[in-house]
Symmetry: C2
């Protein structure tokens, strides 16, 4: 399917935008008139540039508020239209978008709208131009795509059809099934946008909060299915007004945008069994394979893991890379890179078919990554997440693949050593990169988004969004930090069967935890009326506690080393959360550094 | 009236917040339990700190979801309450806020709610604690203050009263006049918050978008009047949940918060003729007195003004300060400060009583400013705007006051010299400082806010908010720049009677304007069908044009010098806008620097 994008999705000037669209791999663009008006380049120059870049100008959006008006206004509107058709001729654009009138319409009658649009179409025909008529969600008389189709049918001109925009249909809760009743020859154009489930006025929602497909809560797969089943064969075009994307780097946003379209068309193909359109089967991860921490000198991390009860799993036979493990929780410490600091640098996943997972991620547009492997080493297919984190896939278990490359380790079964699995990874993002990361986790990692929550911290609200597999074996908790706060550290949560015993053993080995205020335990007691012995243990060991209908959660945090820290968690019964109620305390305590 | 503020309005840890509230001058605080829980300090330490700082703990907010529940839940809730009353005893807080149940209520009957609240009040009485019951806008059964009052009346306990929150009343559109029917002895507490006129779900609106009084669109003056007429004599307390204030400097936000309360109580006193409560009469400005541009070397600005047609008004007799003027538009160039760059540093206003204007601004909490004046110089009372811009008031015209301090100038009436007045000043703010600046302009400058608009620029949306006097003699256009974009320059718009002649003369003198794309003129013609001669003039002179029902607007921009530029505007007929439709072109062109 051909891909297109409205220039209004992107930041910068028109020429920059066109270069970015071409570099990302789009087939075409929708040009918003305001972008042309603010450009020094003539329409002829823009036309020639698009031709050189291999971009088709799929749509031009020059004016609004045409139909349903009185006679003098119609005359004036036709004059305006003629002037814009002249521009389109110079630009080489032959399809114009016309939104339903929101301002000047005074006549509700569809017959009048049809007659006036017919007149416009006849004028357009003189220029070889088609008109795609779109029902805006807040159109004065026409706000439902079924009404725009009725008017187009009434007008009955070969060069007049409808433009569908997923936002305008789904934001109003209109059933998209009716799209299949539209004559496919009159389905002129398709604009796609996702959006979060906000309960706010539809105009502000549309103008500020649209998202790329896969980032919001609209059922775009179902929507696109109806459009394709109706017989639409034009481009899939993105029209996403979003305050963030208007500000972010234009090339990165264009690549991000194309990734969303590829994911959507792939997912739609999968839903409908259209195998020829499908990229490859998604490979939801079965488990974490490992987590990689990188830094110049990771001795403090080794000391921390040792005190936590991790066992040393050996040094890599050919690289300055060391393994620490707590049962099935593998932490790789990588000192190959010379950059200072300590950071979470990579995530490994066990999947059914590692090659297919990587190929699919690359086909959807994930940035490729390069990993030095040496003769005889187990190859792990890899890509880079948009923030630079390495992603690795493994079709085998660690024991059957790379584990044997590490030499000189102790047995993880040594009595007293911590036994566990990676419960979740917590990653923080600056606000400009959050939506892109959600899409990457959906499209490349095949994780699903759980509902998000806002957690109050001392530097502002932190938005928390968990992405996970259905069985919970892989969970990534994403945090969106407030713009003015420093980026939060990332952390690795290891799940054990007895967090109290793990904490006691770690304290005995000399590990200092984040100290938790006494007031917190008084509140715990007020909220839950805990058993005094349990409360005393929690208080003495600086443990955090949460409870819901299904079970309980006991957890604690290590101090930070560079931008990384660890959390030990225990899930009692069916507790399925992450101790969100304790996050404000954790954030406050981390900030005050225990003082 | 006593002033108070909820700690949840502010960023940081509890101890920092308390210090900031005291430094700003608040009389008391509402402590949110979550702030205490995250603090290492014991309740006794917080109590002692508040005592030392002179802050009364007016309210404590420890738990929610109490009433309208089944018996087992009630028993559990009373256990929770007792635990929190113990904390309050240690804290020395004797009034508890209880919000209406949003989650666990299953019984809608007000009699049951009253009975259960009565039981709670009796328990609280053992601790000497009162309960202030508040109807949350999204309470399950109780969401209207009239219902919370009815329940309080039914329960009939001396230590049970209502808490009113302007947000919960006004967001639901409930008539606040009914407040006067409440027994004043049962008006226990008052929380004040403003909010923008958003059409969104009331919970998100409340949690993220509340504003301090004077910054939103609620009629808080009317609301507070009803509360005071009802006989309430407790503190005026701010409870403002706002994503921005949670992130900004705690001391600055606390000062900003207190300014909003002072403004509100003053305005309410004025509305009701309560002279003893009023600070001083507001002094709306009659005109701009001058604009001050500061920098180390302002020769490029002098060259620019000279080419624009300004006349040299002389050098100050004792300071490195020079005057340029275009009729009544005075621009002061100040080279006293050694900081590099060129910036708009001060605004002068003509008012009825300059001393009273400055005293009032200081009493409301404007930061004082210090201006070196020498013997025999005309004194201008002054304060500093929160962003550091100097504000000066003058009870006289320039000719009758400071103008004679400038020597050696040419006559402004020299033929060919530009004649005009300052039409408006355009000031850009980072997003963290925008609301504070709106409040300053309202409270200290006595300007009113016009509706705001979002303008698309190449680096993101720019929010534009005009603040003005009713007659339009003084207008300040405020811009909120996108977070990632560099702060926009500020500009000074001078209104003339013939912008085309002014542009032609300036071009003849060698001034280069911002070059405007040709596409813009094609679009102007399409939109307005302009007279060809006018269009040719506009195109040849790089002029911008706008039109509405009332008239037209012709304007142009000079290049930027440091962070300042000038605009020449002509208003034809009753045009009252600012050429907002042209802002995207201006922003795009300024960014591309004419390339």
């Amino acid at each position: 399917m051909r891909t297109s994008i409205a220039t209004v999705c992107l930041s910068g000037g028109l020429v920059e935008k066109l270069h970015a669209c071409a570099a990302a791999g789009f087939d075409g663009v929708e040009i918003m008139d305001s972008d042309l008006i603010a450009a020094y380049e003539s329409p002829e120059e823009i036309r020639a540039l698009c031709a050189r870049l291999g971009l088709r100008i799929d749509l031009f959006q020059p004016f609004r508020d045409f139909e349903g008006v009185d006679e003098p206004t119609l005359t004036e509107n036709l004059r305006r239209a003629r002037a814009k058709f002249e521009v389109m001729k110079r630009l080489g654009a032959n399809m114009m978008l016309l939104c339903s009138n929101v301002a000047t319409a005074t006549i509700a009658d569809p017959e009048v709208a049809a007659e006036q649009l017919g007149t416009l179409a006849d004028l357009a025909a003189e220029y070889g131009i088609s008109i795609a008529y779109e029902a805006l969600a807040w159109g004065k008389y026409v706000s439902d795509y079924r009404d725009s189709w009725k008017i187009v049918e009434l007008a009955d001109r070969a060069n007049l059809g409808v433009c569908l925009d997923s936002f305008h249909v789904l934001s109003r809760g209109h059933d998209p099934a009716g799209i299949e009743a539209i004559d496919p020859d009159k389905l002129f154009f398709l604009q796609l946008a996702d959006a979060p489930a906000f309960d706010m006025d539809v105009l502000s929602w549309s103008r500020h909060h649209r998202l790329f497909p896969g980032e919001g809560s609209f059922d775009l797969t179902g929507f696109l299915s109806h459009v394709l089943l109706a017989g639409y064969r034009g481009p899939l075009s993105l029209e996403v007004f979003n305050d963030t994307f208007r500000q972010t780097d234009v090339r990165r946003t264009a690549a991000h945008a194309l990734r969303s379209l590829r994911w959507l068309s792939d997912r739609t193909a999968a839903l409908n069994g259209w195998e020829e359109l499908q990229i490859a089967l998604p490979q939801p991860p079965r488990a974490f394979d490992f987590v990689e921490v990188a830094g110049e000198d990771l001795a403090p991390v080794e000391d921390l893991l040792n005190k936590l009860g991790f066992s040393f799993g050996g040094g890599h036979r050919s690289k300055p890379v060391r393994l620490w493990r707590a049962g099935d929780a593998h932490v790789i410490l990588n000192e190959q890179h010379r950059t200072p600091g300590t950071r979470l640098a990579g995530l490994g996943f066990v999947v059914g078919d590692a090659e297919a997972a990587a190929d699919r991620a690359l086909a959807i547009g994930a940035p490729p990554a390069y990993r030095r492997t040496y003769e005889g080493e187990y190859p792990l297919p890899t890509v880079s997440a948009p923030d630079g984190t390495g992603v690795y896939w493994n079709s085998q278990s660690a024991a059957d693949s790379w584990l044997s490359e590490f030499e000189g380790g102790e047995s993880p079964e040594t009595p007293g050593n911590l036994q566990g699995v990676i419960d979740h990874i917590n990653l923080a993002y600056p606000w400009q990169e959050f939506d892109e990361a959600v899409l990457f986790n959906t499209s490349a990692l095949a994780l699903d988004a759980a509902p998000s929550a806002d957690l109050p911290g001392p530097r502002g609200l932190v938005r928390s969004q968990v992405m996970r597999t259905a069985d919970g074996a892989v969970r990534i908790a994403m945090n969106l930090a407030p713009p003015t706060a420093p980026l939060q550290p990332r952390h690795i949560a290891v799940r054990v069967s007895d967090a109290i015993a793990a904490a006691r053993a770690a304290k005995d080995r000399g590990l200092s935890f984040l100290p938790i205020p006494d007031n917190y335990y008084d509140d715990l007691n007020a909220r839950f009326g805990l058993d005094p012995e349990l409360l005393a243990d929690l208080r003495a060991l600086d443990l955090l506690y949460d409870r819901d209908e299904a079970g309980a959660f006991i957890h604690f945090y290590t101090p930070m080393i560079g931008d990384v820290f660890f959390e030990i968690v225990e899930r009692v019964g069916g507790y399925d959360g992450y101790g969100a109620a304790n996050a404000p305390v954790r954030l406050a305590v981390q900030r005050s550094d225990g003082q």
